[in-house]
Symmetry: D2
Subunit: 414 residues, 4 copies
């Protein structure tokens, strides 16, 4: 991937983040699968890929490792693309379980807790459309390669090691078979699952896959739509609730980006609409997440305000101009308009009209410097226009970027 | 609160939402406390309060009911204000438990699972600073009244009913006392807790309280800072993970706003930076959340794209002007600038300079129409300026709103 | 208790058993109650009291310690005496729980698992008849003193230590109060319970108490009937299922006597119809039973075939004489007659009569050397006599000890 | 089995017991395996086989059904015969679990709770010696046929039905494979297990199999030793703790005979040293035991005092003669001598010698009418003789049945 430019300043920051997190050497490499135990404990890489397709990397970002549980959200995305959200969730729950990822429990409807625990991931994988298990794996392989923007390979040794050590997963699958949630052949299902876990990726690949979720399902490097926008959003929601094992709640407080970790030491994290992140370092903490991965993502989120619940300070006024020219009130609007911006516009325009007591004036909205309009804002704007007209004003809108969506944003309600 | 104007169009939309959700009559009124069983099952109200202090209401938005579990996040906010996040979480966990809200289980450190289950809420309440239980309740009362912007009353009958029916909570408190996580007198702790649950509020109050969390801890009606910004954000994160009982995961997918429900039928929901919402309808679904409340908030979120994970489409270009005037390249920038906007600016400016091969030019950034700059964007902008200067360009910035923060946004890293 | 003669050879065997078990120094003294932690870890005593009132002792058999959980079966015996078996078990289950003795779980009827776990013991104690808690404790005190044959004292320091450390038990009691299984005041109930646990006994006392259960509820030292025979048997059954915590199953295989251990290091064990045993040594194994206690009782049971499931080899023939004197067939019977003995008698007499073809003979049963007749055997004997008479034989029975019970043993069935 | 005589009165009692229990029509036929659902719900049979080989039967005692879980104790007996108790229990626990028979839980050593839950039974079955699964099944088949005294057949339809419905058992097996407790091929292990569950038996067969356990492992019909005496006793102990699912504790109180029930409606119950019982009626109660089976065995145990914890009243004195002839004290002893009998003999002889102050007398014990001597009694008798000799008396023993065992019963202690 030599096309990745080492563009400053982001790369420099990533280098600094690695340096700051490198002293974290707690945790242990996963060894329940013999092949995984061979990983270099000191490997450490990070990559960020933006929705515009720019990539930033540092450390061992091109070293290969196996996807493991990071495959779960991507296969889940394919499953809900294939069947729809509701059909998938007739068979698998939505809720964090408070139990270990490999727990033996089904909810009172016989479903595994959620698609991010092993049982739920096995089930999700089994739901992928396809006549045979090889066809199902072929579709998973194609989809995950689509997310990554290149054809991924299976690590044959890890796959065989998984298969040999996979009795607990077989047990989970038989349990779900017995409860009726799993309907395919158990040994086929586990085979496909072990294979999807054994796909080889780099930290850079994880960042591209994550960026595809950040970018409404469109791979920003290839421009290919891998899943649709709602699927990407639902996948991120499930990652947000259940992606970081028993650290999910703390992760929401301290990092606040939907994420999924894997036993080989990778983490995928997503800043929706902005970028995807990949991190890799094999030592795992008690919750099963990469110790350095958690450290570096916490630093990054805190340092740059990436927590989903963090919002920028109220922006400068969306009205950059409000002036009368005879009977015409010109309102120059700007910025990314949200509900509160419109509240402000509604109130200021109303006050201006009331002050001047001109009941037959024209109001001209100039949206030239508006960069986006949210759905609630769009609804408010439409209602403002309607109301002004009803009150006898003439209204005109200059919208060169055609951002106003007519009749949208009312949810069919008004 | 007579100052609330019934301003269209939002009130009209709220009316429509109530109408659409009214047919939901499933679920049962909580009756484990006799007083609660007396609620009117058909009561239904909604209120929205924006961070600018505008209020919109429909239905029974001024009917009183008791706070119950909705008190939990607000008392938690007070606790972390008093002690700090880490000290509080030495005693109570962060994680969704996958168990009922009144479950008898402590984590392996002897802590209740999180501050939103009963055990965790009892503990959190016990941590409030104060010599005596009456002092502790006085501080809780003052804080929650501050969130609501008016002095709240205790419903004495409900309080007595809670106290009489409170053996399970006493059991939880004794269990935590035995494990060492609770250090105060059990019967004092439960007393305070029953009292905080018995505070009387309206749906409108809930909306104001929620708006205070949306507004970085500042009550938008009174302008008083109740908790600081980080406390508000941490509280929202915990609501997001654990606020909707065993529906939290599904809520994240279908609604995607941090929320907390109570057994009396209320729900508090928050759109950070935008508004708070209160809903009230007493019938509860199997997960213990108001059936109509879930219905109406789902409609609202889907209808207006309020899910946290939903982001507006990539805005129009942040560069509204890029033109040469002799050796001066003027770059007119606009909108709410995020990381990706800056990427775009960096690349376009770089390309423009490269194309023109003017190595000694001046670059003038005009930020007049910029409405906000995120932390990552600020860092990128700073780095861009530095880099241009290092390359020999002269750089000037027109920043009338003084949005650029110098030296901020690097997390101390670069 | 100076009347206890140090009669050989049992005392010599008890000495030997202590010597053989003394090397067991694994385990730890219970320290969750500070007072208990002060026990001498090397204290070791054993006592056996037979249903005839003979006592055998070795080691520290007169050292005092507190009853703790050994109070549970004796208070349970009082409860079922007061209310009847069924009324007690409407509130507490019968089943081993597979969980720790202090677990927080109730069965699906809201009942604690069984009367030997803490929750069940608290409940059982609360069921004792009595208006006030002091009256209830007075009755418990009287009954347990009756089992021991002397007035037991409360160790005031241990009682206070229990009370201070008793939050988990208070939690259990509140949980049961909430579920409706406990109906008395929680703090009264725990008070009585802590007091019953703090009664001071010696190993010798435990042996007398156990012997009272072995002797159908009659204290063999005082001759006083403390509980009736069925109550004693039901108590032994519950001890058999649930008395040795999570070692109950293994105990049944390796020792096979109903038993109850306590956290202060005592064990009560019962050989029904024969003797009671007390053992005391404070170090507890992982299951919470006295390590040396388990060792010494295992040796004792294996050495002398005391396992309930062990039965002596089939005895010599119950017929010591079967001979004709003219038309009279004399059958000399002997021993403790069980079902199988009667089968043998029926068949041998039938064959003898068939062989001799004397249809009008007399059959004389001489029971002089019969020492007991079980219920099934008694039924068989009655039926044999009836059948012989129906076949035309004359029958006479010599029964100097009047062991045959007429009309008994048919369960009202035939 | 035409040799079974319908000998009164036991058959008449069995008829009466069936009549009394027939009104119990609660419960449901197991239907999780389609073939089982076809059973006649009203079928009802009982059979009793004594250790002398006499059989008594009533109702549908010759109707065939499949062994199901009743196979578990018999295969367990074979396993501990093959490997020894300790080796088996390194892999499977001893303890009642308080959980459903098909629960997914292993103890903290990775072992299933006990050999009577499905997981434990699968494991036990896997431990049977044999190179291949067919060899293992052949040995199980031979052993269970030995217990029954005839070659049992596999119900091929039920076997196939088990195999088709067996996913939960496969899941359990994979779980144990993953934990390391199961070491053989999962699909081989479940195959053997389904086959052992599908062996066809009659109620009469169950009675013979049970009588074999009652008779120290010797089949009373064939005289063949199937397992040794200790194996039979250990098997009974495990049945006693864990054989009746979540009714084991109540069973101990109300019935008190080691027993094992199966999902097809059979129950095996054992009166050690006396007889085995088989019952069959397909409707199962909530605990999974045959409703009528529990009813009829409760009646039988209560009617005839068969509870293990019930003991006959203290027998008549074991001394039928104690008289002086010059310097010779003749002591005529009788009955089944236990510890307490010897206590009595020791004390009476001592007193007699003390009273007469004859220090150089001869003591003649006449054991002609003694029918058995327990181990503790034997030890006491030996010690009595030794002590008398040490005191200067001459001692002689008339023991025509050679019941006294020299040097036995001291457990190597004295």
């Amino acid at each position: 991937m030599e096309q990745t430019e080492r563009i400053e300043p982001v790369n420099r920051i990533l280098d600094a983040l690695l340096r700051l997190s490198a002293p974290v050497t707690t945790g242990r490499i996963a060894d329940y699968i013999p092949e995984l135990a061979k990983a270099d404990p000191d490997a450490f890489g990070i990559a960020v890929v933006s929705v515009l397709g720019h990539a930033y990397e540092a450390g061992d970002s091109r070293k290969e490792f196996t996807l493991q549980s990071i495959s779960k959200p991507f296969v889940y995305a394919l499953a809900i693309s294939d069947l729809g959200l509701d059909a998938v969730h007739e068979r698998v729950g939505f809720e964090p379980s408070g139990e270990p990822f490999n727990a033996f429990s089904l909810d009172d409807q016989g479903r595994p807790a959620n698609p991010m625990v092993n049982a739920g991931a096995l089930l999700t994988s089994s739901l992928i459309s396809g006549q045979s298990s090889s066809e199902r794996f072929a579709r998973i392989h194609a989809s995950l390669s689509g997310f990554a923007g290149r054809v991924l390979d299976v690590d044959q040794k890890v796959f065989e090691s998984e298969r040999e050590s996979g009795d607990r997963n077989r047990a989970l699958a038989y349990l779900m078979k017995a409860s009726g949630s799993l309907t395919r052949e158990v040994l086929d299902v586990t085979e496909v699952y072990f294979r999807q876990c054994s796909l080889l990726v780099t930290t850079y690949d994880i960042a591209v896959m994550s960026a595809t979720l950040a970018n409404d399902g469109i791979n920003p490097m290839t421009g290919v739509q891998i899943v649709d926008s709602a699927v990407a959003r639902h996948t991120l929601a499930v990652m947000g609730s259940c992606g970081m094992y028993d650290y999910a709640g703390q992760w929401a407080v301290r990092v606040g980006m939907p994420a999924k970790s894997g036993v080989s030491g990778g983490i995928s994290a997503v800043k929706p609409g902005q970028f995807g992140i990949g991190v890799f370092s094999p030592r795992l903490d008690d919750a099963g997440n990469s110790s350095r991965g958690v450290a570096v993502l916490t630093l990054l989120s805190e340092g740059y305000g990436l927590n989903l619940l963090q919002h920028p300070p109220r922006p400068a006024s969306p009205i950059h101009l409000l002036k009368w020219d005879a009977d015409v009130l010109s309102a120059g609007i700007r910025g990314d308009l949200d509900f509160v911006d419109l509240e402000l516009i509604v109130h200021e325009v109303a006050e201006e009209l009331a002050t001047k007591k001109k009941s037959d004036a024209e109001v001209r909205f100039d949206l030239t410097h508006v960069t986006s309009i949210g759905e609630a804002a769009n609804m408010m704007l439409e209602q403002l226009v309607t109301r002004l007209k009803e009150s006898g004003f003439r209204v005109s809108i200059e919208d060169p970027s055609m951002l106003v969506k007519v009749g949208v944003g009312q949810g069919g309600l008004a």
